[in-house]
């Protein structure tokens, strides 16, 4: 209770309330995430229920257009799925993939950064060289190639079943070096502190020192990077799915929906691609705006 009161009174919340851009983007983001998480409860239809789909319903335009239909607010796609419901479920998939991919990148990157920074020497040199080399390539290219290699290496049927996990792995692998570099930097600083020396003197194992003593002290900047990377991971997933190497149309994410809609752009059914596109753009824009505000709010030099 006291902690809550202190939070409500903090500079942090004050600067948030004073900044209309931050408030609006937080609101947009909350709507996106809320709609996605509660999709099974809120969505007007279940787009995965094949029995309820009818091709008679396909390509219905949005309700606000002349020959629209009030039962499908923003129209239907080529298979007769209600677009609003498909977008809500699609956002759910997009956020799920992005969040798990970043969690994976964070875990892997933090572990590597800790080991490299604490042990130093040859281990450090090799690990950081790998990170450097990977950082010269854009993350999306790495994700694309990792996904391609796994597609070739895994048996077809197994790959199709594990598609979403392959995607999470590919995006996570593409984003670990940034975490590793940051954690290594802070670990190098922490390694020289007295509390680490004390732990070494009483004979704790390196592993114990890294996980229970240094780790809590290097996590701060990692969380900021994770927030900023979340937006990028959402874009990675959408891009891969749009390119057709991500998720299949049976379990569409926002990128898959845009890909499907792109096929019908020329025949005049613009809404199938535009509405998922607007959702994606609004979500990423608000993550970026919030990230900008967060960076400024946490930077005492700018006050």
């Amino acid at each position: 209770m006291q902690a809550l009161a202190r939070f409500l009174d903090s500079d942090f919340l004050y600067s948030f309330r004073r900044n209309p851009v931050a408030v609006v983007s937080a609101l947009v983001l909350a709507i996106c995430i809320g709609g996605a998480v509660l999709a099974p409860l809120l969505a007007p239809y279940n787009p995965f229920d094949l029995a309820s789909l009818s091709l008679m319903d396909s390509f219905r335009p949005p309700a606000f257009i002349a020959d629209g239909d009030a039962s499908h607010v923003i129209g239907t796609d080529d298979q007769g799925r209600d677009l609003l419901s498909a977008i809500m479920y699609g956002t759910r998939v997009s956020i799920f993939v992005a969040a798990l991919a970043i969690a994976f990148a964070l875990t892997l990157g933090t572990a590597i950064g800790l080991v490299a920074g604490y042990l130093g020497g040859a281990v450090d040199a090799v690990l950081m060289r790998i990170a450097d080399v990977q950082l010269t390539f854009p993350a999306i290219l790495i994700a694309l190639l990792v996904d391609g290699i796994l597609r070739a290496a895994l048996p077809r049927e197994f790959h199709d079943r594990m598609e979403i996990w392959v995607l999470i792995f590919a995006i996570g692998i593409a984003r670990w070096p940034q975490f590793a570099r940051t954690v290594r930097g802070s670990t190098l600083v922490e390694r020289g502190r007295e509390y680490v020396m004390a732990a070494q003197v009483i004979g704790l194992s390196s592993r114990r020192i890294m996980t229970s003593h240094i780790l809590p002290n290097v996590l701060g900047p990692v969380l900021v990077i994770a927030t900023l990377n979340l937006g990028l991971a959402v874009l990675d997933e959408a891009t891969l799915s749009f390119l057709g190497v991500g998720l299949a149309p049976t379990e569409p994410s926002l990128g898959t929906l845009i890909r499907i809609g792109n096929n019908f752009l020329f025949s005049g059914e613009w809404w199938i691609t535009i509405f998922p596109g607007v959702t994606l753009a609004a979500m990423v824009l608000s993550i970026n705006l919030l990230g900008d505000w967060l960076r400024d709010a946490l930077n005492p030099r700018l006050r």
């Binding site: 080399v133 390539f137 999306i140 190639l145 070739a152 891009t239």
Partner: protein, 326 residues
Amino acid sequence: MFAFIIARLFQAVPVLLAVAAISFAMFAYVGDPVSQMLGQDYTEAQRIALVKALGLDQPFWVQYGRFVWAALHGEFGLSFRLAKPVGGLILERMPATMELALVAAVLALSVGVPMGVYTGIKRNGLLSRVFMVLSLIGVSLPTFLIGILLILVFAVLLGWLPSFGRGTLVQIGGWSTGLLTLSGLKALILPAVTLGMFQMTLIMRLVRAEMLEVLRSDYIKFARARGLSQRAIHFGHALRNTLVPVITVVGLQLGGLLAFSIVTETVFQWPGMGLLLIQSIAVADIPVMSTYLLLISVLFVTINLVVDLLYYAVDPRLRIGRGGRH
């Protein structure tokens, strides 16, 4: 200078060898060419003979050495999908990607730098605010969405520009160019704008941030005190000193342009290397994938080297001592 270039080249070689090892490992461990070549009916003796003939019984290092040797001679094997030599396939499509990426880079620089300077000088002006909002949208919209929106507006609704392909091409030696015909140029506009948009906003924001930083510095105050014209201060003194980070980012982003050309080429069905890669990934065409990886890393390493050399040209401080920090 010379020693610096040699040192950088020696640093680049292990990176390239490591990438070559990865792309060779893709060849060696993913998929089974022997069973594909043998077909359904074969005896064990036939299989062993083929393995011997292909040199697959040799140790990893010997095979890897032969792979690197062949790659240095431009031989990358056959595409599984098209049954043609991969080197030729990629070379054929290289001009399309290069023209697209270069035009996008020029576009991004020639629009991004002036916008950045303007928003840096007139930081609270109305136009500056409009530019900043636009740039934020440009950063947040994914490349493929920008492409789709441009197609919707300029190809579907207005019908001004083509939405796919390269238009009429002219062959100059082995290089097919679309820059010399009207339809080729028209076909290039939408893809180049799509690809250059992200870089443009990035350059603009970077130049703006650097300008703000530099304009606060003592030597700018001194220049003002000397009574130099605004123009001389902004362009002769301030902009010049923002160039080092700008060159770094632009150089590194040139690699990004090549990577994101994969997306742009898919949206516009632009017949370049990126579209080839996507078509190959979809059917697990390993030779094309590993060759693309090799080729793009050679390009990236070259770009990094050129960026380092440009530092030298722009920042005289780096010429003292040998190479400095980088």
